[in-house]
Point group: C2
Chain length 652, copies 2
């Protein structure tokens, strides 16, 4: 176990302007399509989609309208995440009209805030006397946390303090309600989120109370007597969603034991990773080694025992939760988009404590596969659940798979995922680099320009990259005068062969590698050009023999991308196909495929149904026939209508 001995500086999205063949398209999509679309969705203006009611709730709470609260108890968060995404977008792409619309929304939010700082439309409209009586189920602090994140991002983007003031008042009020003092609640939320939000608010404002309040929530969690259990008893064991219950599942909220004693990722996956994120934040900020070690233990369990090859987590829709080690069903799991977003958060925080290749590898895996796979190429359709195998008819007719949708949906009643993708993509800049006293770390290969601070120096770094389609990447710098610092290039876990040149001169990088990063120390000048070429090849991925759902199967990966076979390319019934892993698999850039993508091609063997008679079982094998196959990146699946899809393919 490592201790907290060096902590990197986090880069804000404002410092990084992405100009990248791959990501500029996503950024544009989020800015031009997703944010306006979600604005309409929040205002219930999308035909045929489930209504959101989120803005309407604020209008009622603000007294502008009469009416009832509608939607989930945490419906406010969709507005908060949208404002946060807008904030990130405005940081790099100012847009006066969008800012005007957002200011109007913020005015509305501010009007909905109580005199005392309280802000939550559900309780304000519907149960004003029930504040803080059901933290387990009602997401009050979770909802507050999202608004705090929005306030921070919008201030960073625009310098406008209105929403920041709102959330500071909210945080100040919460700080009076919770604590160990007389009359205070010694509790925490059922759904973690405020903990990481308060860290952001602390970083921005420097106000120690916010950091301490975050630490309080983390430290109290799971202590005895158990707050959530006591609260539940006081409510006569009434659960907000299902009524009277016989027991309370504390693991579901990671409140079964104190966080430092938790050894395995359990319960609701999004709650878990949001909590781990805050734990890593706090460990980095305070140097709390026991907290970092808890993060490492939980990381190792999650990543090495409970994570899909696509970087998704959550094996069951029951409680949107982890189950047990090695239980990763392909066709009935959960792998919620929000949980993959949360993995990006957690991995990023861990990277700030230690620059370890594995943290970045997992960040990249979640980002390039599940997170962006959660959104359609049109920016208007989303997955909440990200299966690794789909048989559409079974999704429609087997109730055990009702949560698995074979095509992305317009909007959800519980629509946490779409704005979560939007805010991640629009803030992607912050995940590319970190710095410390003497080093620039490159975690992701994404083109653009960043203004970074290395020690006392300012460095503008420019990156170009063929990622994720190829690994040809180059760096140059804008420097007033030659400067001495270390450039730490991430060596991705998937990369077995690469070449590094500086100004055309080949560098033996192998001896410079430490824990997944190549450290190049020199005096850099404005003419220097680093060419870092990671050779991408098709990797045949095997799974741990305990991963039963993938036994006897292989997955294909190329660079950071996990691939899948879809019906559109390979015919129906992907399960009848098998692949010889020893064959030579080829890649090709298909410019026609969904905006252009590298596909993997080879030969598969298909079990034929054509000459099988009308029985289910027989004592001779089916006839087999060879056919070419095409695998496409997983994140692109289900953009061509409904059909079979599988990541794990039988090997022969």
């Amino acid at each position: 176990m490592s201790t907290v001995n060096k902590v990197l500086n986090t880069v804000t999205p404002k410092e990084v302007r992405i100009v990248d063949e791959f990501w500029t398209k996503y950024n544009d999509l989020v800015r031009q399509v997703v944010i306006p679309y979600q604005y309409d969705a929040l205002h219930d203006r999308i035909a045929d989609a489930e209504p959101s009611y989120a803005i309407q709730n604020f209008e009622i709470a603000a007294g502008r309208k009469e009416g009832q609260f509608n939607g989930f108890v945490f419906q406010d968060t969709d507005v908060a995440k949208w404002i946060e995404a807008v904030g990130y977008s405005l940081m790099t792409h100012p847009d006066a009209e969008l800012e005007r619309l957002t200011d109007q929304v913020i005015d509305l939010v501010a009007e909905a805030q109580g005199e005392d700082g309280y802000l939550n439309t559900y309780f304000t409209i519907k149960e004003p006397d029930k504040r803080w009586t059901n933290l387990a189920d009602c997401h009050e602090l979770y909802t507050a946390g999202h608004m705090i994140e929005a306030g921070v991002a919008y201030y960073q983007a625009t310098g406008k303090k209105k929403l920041l003031d709102v959330v500071c008042r909210l945080a100040d009020y919460i700080d009076t309600v919770f604590g160990t003092g007389e009359g205070q609640l010694r509790g925490y939320d059922g759904h973690q989120e405020i903990e990481l939000a308060l860290v952001k608010l602390y970083r921005l404002t420097g106000e120690q109370r916010y950091l301490q309040l975050s630490q309080f929530f983390i430290d109290e969690r799971g202590q005895q007597p158990n707050f959530l259990e006591q609260e539940w008893e006081q409510r006569d064991r009434i659960n907000f969603f299902v009524g009277k219950t016989n027991d309370i599942n504390l693991q579901y909220s990671q409140a079964h034991v104190p966080v430092r004693e938790q050894k395995e990722a359990v319960g609701h996956a999004v709650r878990a990773v949001y909590m781990y994120t805050a734990m890593a934040d706090l460990a980095g900020l305070t140097g709390d080694t026991s907290l970092y070690q808890a993060c490492q233990t939980l990381w190792n369990n999650m990543v090495h025992k409970q994570m899909y090859v696509t970087g998704g987590i959550g094996s069951t829709h029951h409680g949107e939760a982890f189950t047990i080690d090695y239980d990763l069903p392909n066709d009935s799991g959960y792998s919620e988009t929000c949980a993959a977003v949360g993995i990006v958060f957690f991995a990023h925080r861990m990277l700030q404590i230690e620059a370890k290749g594995e943290y970045a590898d997992v960040l990249e895996r979640a980002l390039y596969n599940t997170v962006i796979g959660g959104m359609a190429q049109d920016g208007k359709h989303y997955f909440y659940v990200n299966p690794l195998e789909v048989w559409p008819s079974a999704c429609h007719h087997n109730p055990g798979k009702h949560h698995v949708k074979p095509v992305r949906q317009k909007w959800f009643g519980c629509s946490c995922c779409p704005p979560n993708i939007a805010r991640l993509v629009s803030s992607l800049g912050q995940y590319i680099y970190s710095t410390n006293q003497d080093t620039i770390y490159t975690h992701l290969y994404i083109g653009g320009e960043a203004e970074l601070t290395v020690g006392e120096q300012s460095v503008v770094i420019q990156q170009e990259s063929g990622y994720p389609w190829n690994g040809a990447t180059s760096f140059s710098f804008q420097l007033e005068q030659p400067q001495s610092f270390t450039l730490a290039l991430r060596l991705p876990g998937w990369c077995k062969k690469a070449s590094l040149t500086i100004n055309g001169e080949s560098i033996e990088y192998q001896s410079l590698v430490q824990d997944g990063y190549i450290y190049i120390q020199r005096e850099w000048s404005v003419d220097d050009r680093v060419e870092w070429n990671m050779k991408m090849h098709v990797q045949v991925i095997h799974s741990h023999p305990r991963l039963r759902a993938a036994s006897g199967k292989i997955a294909l990966q190329h660079g950071p991308l996990v691939y899948c076979l879809e019906q559109a390319d390979n015919g129906e019934l992907i399960s009848a196909l098998s692949i010889d892993p020893a064959q030579s698999l080829t890649t090709r850039f298909d410019a026609e495929l969904l905006g252009g993508a590298v596909v993997i091609e080879g030969t598969a063997t298909r079990e034929l149904t054509s000459d099988w008679d009308d029985h289910l079982y027989q004592d001779s094998p089916p006839t087999i026939q060879e056919q070419p196959f095409t695998a496409i990146p997983y994140f692109l699946w289900a953009n061509r209508g409904e059909g079979d899809m599988a990541v794990w393919i039988r090997k022969n």
Copy 2:
């Protein structure tokens, strides 16, 4: 499609005395253990088991006790099925003490009957004014049907009329309530059962009204306007179990269209097969070709598209139901024991219309694998759900598998399955033979003696059989004088090689085969001895390429028995094993294994976890190692503690 052109005579269990190496043990178990155990269970005397309350409910309804109704709305049926099982048992094994106890139970049942003939403890105790207001959910006619079956069986066994009179009064009363007349309900039960029971009552009493009432229920089902839907609207859309509902699932009760228009097996699997059984009964009795053709259509869909290799049906625990063609998940399906019992009923009724090998093959498959697999070798533990693959930890910790129990349970709150096994095993004699004017059909190879009527003749047939461990079977006859008739021996679908001798003289049976039966016409005498030796071999079973859950896998079968691999023999993690189907597999009778059983042995390849590092995924395959494997009959699984089990094994 065949028409109804010949109908065989059903044999009653009373006509057949089983003396058989394999089945005598089961019969003894049911008689000596299961029936007494279930008597105690119905009286709530089993420690640590869920209470039944079934007898107590009758005591309250009879006015002998004060108290509340407890248990399911159909709890009475457990008593009925127990009496029925006792009836069958007494037919061949008179037992004065058991008969005395049963007479007491029958006295109690009779006391609980209303003046008008109504008999149902739930409605009598709890909602006397709500009779016949919720046929969809409340199983009133289903409950009546089970008591009718009990009355028939107990009368046939003992000649005692008390319960028969009770159920005739009950049926007479029902006949006044339901019908097309003024003030009558033009309806039917949500859960079919009374239809087949009324046929039994008709066969015993000759009372045409019972046959007509059965036909009425079958004919009305699914007609427009839909009775269940109208009733639901009249109840303000209240469902008995879940309260107010937005819609009613008519497919669940096979009431979506008239039965003759149903093309696919849908909905609750037990309801379906009970209904199909009655349809076949009626088709055979009335010569209704359209009804028989509907049976054939539904049979073909169920058997050729929706049946597990173990003879189980029901792919989801949601509604204990069929899903869609080829959707047969191994580790999360349902395959309820009662549904397999129902398959035996349905197949048996189809066999009486046409002696087709497939009907008997399916009967045998369900009986020898799922039905007897539903009961532990101690007779005191039962499966409700019969999975084809079990990973115990996932059953305990993945809520999507909460219904799959890795070991048999003592009793269930909803305990339909244990008494269903008991009544089937104790009435097994009736499934072995059928006769018609000139032929004795042997459907099952089970030793013992039967007194049969062939045309006008009486024939005592004696069978000895090594089934299911080997196919050595012999027949002889007790005849006053030589008699001319046809002996039709079933040629099982699994049997590829056999020999037939009569009095030592070899017979070329191939030319005598018709639709799965070998027809041997001759004048038989008391000295004749037929030796019919079906050569059992290990069959490697492949599945239809559309059966995704078994793709790339094989199952092993020996004679009628499907095999499985268990952790007890093969180590943990069966999914890491694969088998070369081309190898020579051997069989051995292991006298020590659970009372003795033929095991299948061979060599498997295991993916090792020992040298795999702490990651889930890597780009090189796991190390493999050969190990011997042992497969045991599926019906014997989970008799040696909790562990991994799988029927479908990966092939390499």
